[in-house]
């Protein structure tokens, strides 16, 4: 019975956990429920992806109403991978949250925190799994509302302002998306993604479809923080509780990228979005500017969480760059980087969470000389940084490799060169931290701290291990990413 219902369980686990988390007054029990929800989701994601890789097309009709009338959950290689990313990161970060959140979040709010935490996870998984356009919007709102609440629970008072700013920007993005979906519904009379894909080619000339496309593109770009729509992101990442930063940095922008992929390739089709509208010409410069300027800005940040946040915007640029090629190699690079960036940013933010736990600050001056006091944490940070730069034997190298291949395939030598040059910018901002940590004189406060507890180090190192493992043996990830890229370009979902 369970196998047939895996798509429903995928979303239901976190949803039920969210409700139960709030009902219990004990913070540890609340965490246990959240952990159970995350593990359930992860199990479901693994089951679904393995069945998809076995060549199965998974469809699940909610309420027994067949598509296109009812809401349908549909899993292929693309969202199978996204589900695995989100659920996997969910488990690791929830493990991390137990200790980290008790330090950073008001005691009485912890059950509510885990409620919002599970809602966020539920929403993200829902966006990824659903085959219904309006359902995407609903889950987008669920995950966003959860995220706003989570960010606002940061210990810094500025967390409130940044959560509010994200709320405004996120709501604008969501309304653009719902307007786009509404226009598509008006034009086609259907909300099912596969059905939309079938009906749209006949309507390519219509202005309504063009406007819907524009609204969806801008709305989703806001959600995934594509330059220049990224202004909400740095503050939101910097002031959220450490565990929250780890969760949203590794998952929420990735899910938004997935939505973009779904609409560009599956729904509108590559001939429309990249052929007729030559979207690649628009995405390519934006991606390059994002990579270049945001990496530069990252170099001058003194708050390391903020620095990594700007680096995230740059990394999203790499993903968009891969998408802009609209080729199998480009899309493989983009989907690979989706997975790989989640691993590296997750690991880096968790390492900073360890620092936050012991030192209480992630300012670069507070990190000075910590290399001797917190060797494991700092080794994790350095390894994550190497992965971010794209050093061989890490996942960063694998995605950069495919990205450069994709650029060369298009004959874009300058773009390939730029990808390599901008990697050196990552060297600069990571080196600043490494230098401070290992060669700086420890401040009085840093001198007295000890290594982070194992309960924080284990999840951090789990992600670092994944960074190294998938960097050395990339056959699984490249295989799935390649399959996803072919599924996207093949038109049918």
């Amino acid at each position: 019975m369970i196998a047939a219902h895996l798509p429903a369980i995928q979303v239901l686990g976190p949803l039920l956990a969210a409700a139960l988390c709030v009902l219990v007054p004990w913070k540890r029990v609340s965490w246990g429920i959240a952990m159970a929800g995350a593990v359930t989701a992860f199990g479901a994601a693994v089951g679904l992806l393995s069945r998809v890789l076995g060549g199965e097309d998974i469809r699940y009709a909610l309420g027994g109403w067949a598509a296109p009338w009812g809401i349908e959950y549909r899993v292929d290689a693309v969202n199978g991978l996204v589900l695995l990313i989100v659920a996997g990161i969910g488990v690791v970060v929830t493990l991390f949250a137990l200790t980290s959140v008790e330090r950073e979040v008001d005691e009485r709010r912890i059950p509510l925190f885990y409620g919002a935490w599970m809602l966020c996870l539920c929403g993200l998984l829902g966006i990824a799994i659903t085959g219904d356009a309006f359902n995407i919007f609903v889950f987008l709102e669920i995950s966003s509302l959860g995220t706003y609440a989570l960010i606002a629970m940061g210990s810094d008072r500025r967390a409130l302002v940044s959560a509010f700013r994200y709320l405004i920007m996120g709501s604008i993005g969501a309304s653009f998306i719902v307007i786009g979906i509404g226009l598509l519904y008006v034009e086609t009379g259907t909300l099912n993604l596969a059905d939309l894909a079938e009906r749209l080619p006949a309507l390519y000339g219509e202005r309504t479809v063009l406007v819907a496309f524009a609204f969806l593109t801008v709305g989703t770009s806001l959600k995934l923080a594509l330059f220049p729509l990224h202004v909400w992101l740095p503050d939101a990442y910097a002031f959220a509780p450490s565990a929250v930063t780890g969760l949203i940095a590794a998952t929420s922008t990735k899910v938004a990228v997935y939505v973009l992929l779904r609409f560009f390739f599956t729904v509108f089709g590559v001939t429309y979005s990249f052929g007729e509208l030559s979207l690649g010409m628009w995405l390519l410069p934006l991606a390059l500017v994002a990579i270049f300027t945001m990496s530069l800005v990252a170099i001058f940040q003194r708050n390391i969480k903020r620095m990594l946040a700007y680096s995230s915007v740059a990394q999203i640029g790499y993903i968009i760059l891969g998408i802009s090629f609209a080729s199998v190699t480009g899309l493989t690079a983009a989907t690979l980087h989706l997975f790989n960036h989640a691993l590296m940013k997750g690991a880096l933010f968790l390492a900073l969470g360890c620092v936050m736990y012991r030192v209480g600050s992630v300012h670069i001056d507070a990190l000075r000389g910590l290399g001797r006091r917190m060797p494991w944490t700092m080794a994790a940070f350095t390894a994550g940084g190497l992965s971010l730069i794209g050093v061989p034997l890490t996942v960063g190298f694998v995605s950069k490799w495919y990205l450069v291949l994709g650029a060369l395939e298009q004959g874009m030598w300058p773009v390939a060169a730029l990808v390599l040059v901008t990697s050196t910018l990552a060297v600069v901002y990571i080196w600043r931290v490494v230098e401070a940590v290992y060669f700086g004189e420890p401040s009085a406060r840093a001198d007295s701290v000890s290594e982070a507890p194992l309960r924080l180090l284990v999840p951090t190192w789990a992600l670092i291990a994944a960074n190294l493992y998938f960097g050395i043996d990339a056959s699984l990830t490249t295989n799935v990413a390649g399959q996803a890229a072919r599924a996207l370009l093949g038109g049918a979902p």
């Binding site: 019975m1 219902h5 429903a8 239901l12 949803l15 039920l16 969210a18 409700a19 139960l20 709030v22 009902l23 699940y60 009709a61 909610l62 309420g63 027994g64 409620g115």
Partner: protein, 140 residues
């Protein structure tokens, strides 16, 4: 506003029918416009009117904050519970058709239960919002 006799009496007269109307909207939802969301809002409006006229403390004495918060999550559990029950009885998630002996009655009871969940949650969240905004200055 406790000294405003007209307001007080008017509120007393109105609150009962408001609750009744909420139930009407709730059960009418199966056949026409209406349903759990609207009914939940109307129900909450009754409580909010009471709180506005008779004061937040008396409203909280009738419906404590803890219960309201519980309502907010309980509704989600009712909704999901119906869906899961359908899964255990051999249907898909939220497939009400399998809940009872014949599909027609089962669909009816299924949507009724789900709408009840929606009512409870919407009521809970609405009143929670009101309580937290109204009680903001006091808690400082």
């Amino acid at each position: 506003m406790r000294d405003q006799i007209i307001l007080r009496i008017a509120a007393k007269i109105l609150i009962g029918p408001i609750f009744l109307f909420a139930l009407y909207v709730q059960f009418h939802g199966d056949y026409g416009p209406g349903g759990g969301f609207q009914a939940g809002v109307i129900f909450a409006a009754g409580v909010i009117l009471y709180a506005l006229v008779f004061g937040l403390d008396r409203a909280r004495a009738v419906i404590p904050t803890a219960i309201v918060t519980w309502c907010g999550t309980l509704g989600v559990l009712i909704f999901a519970g119906v869906g899961v029950a359908a899964m255990f009885m051999g249907g898909n998630f939220l497939d009400y058709g399998v809940l009872l002996y014949d599909a027609e009655h089962a669909q009816h009871i299924g949507i009724l239960l789900v709408e009840a969940g929606v009512l409870v949650t919407v009521f809970g969240v609405m009143v929670t919002l009101f309580y937290s905004f109204a009680g903001r200055r006091r808690s400082r």
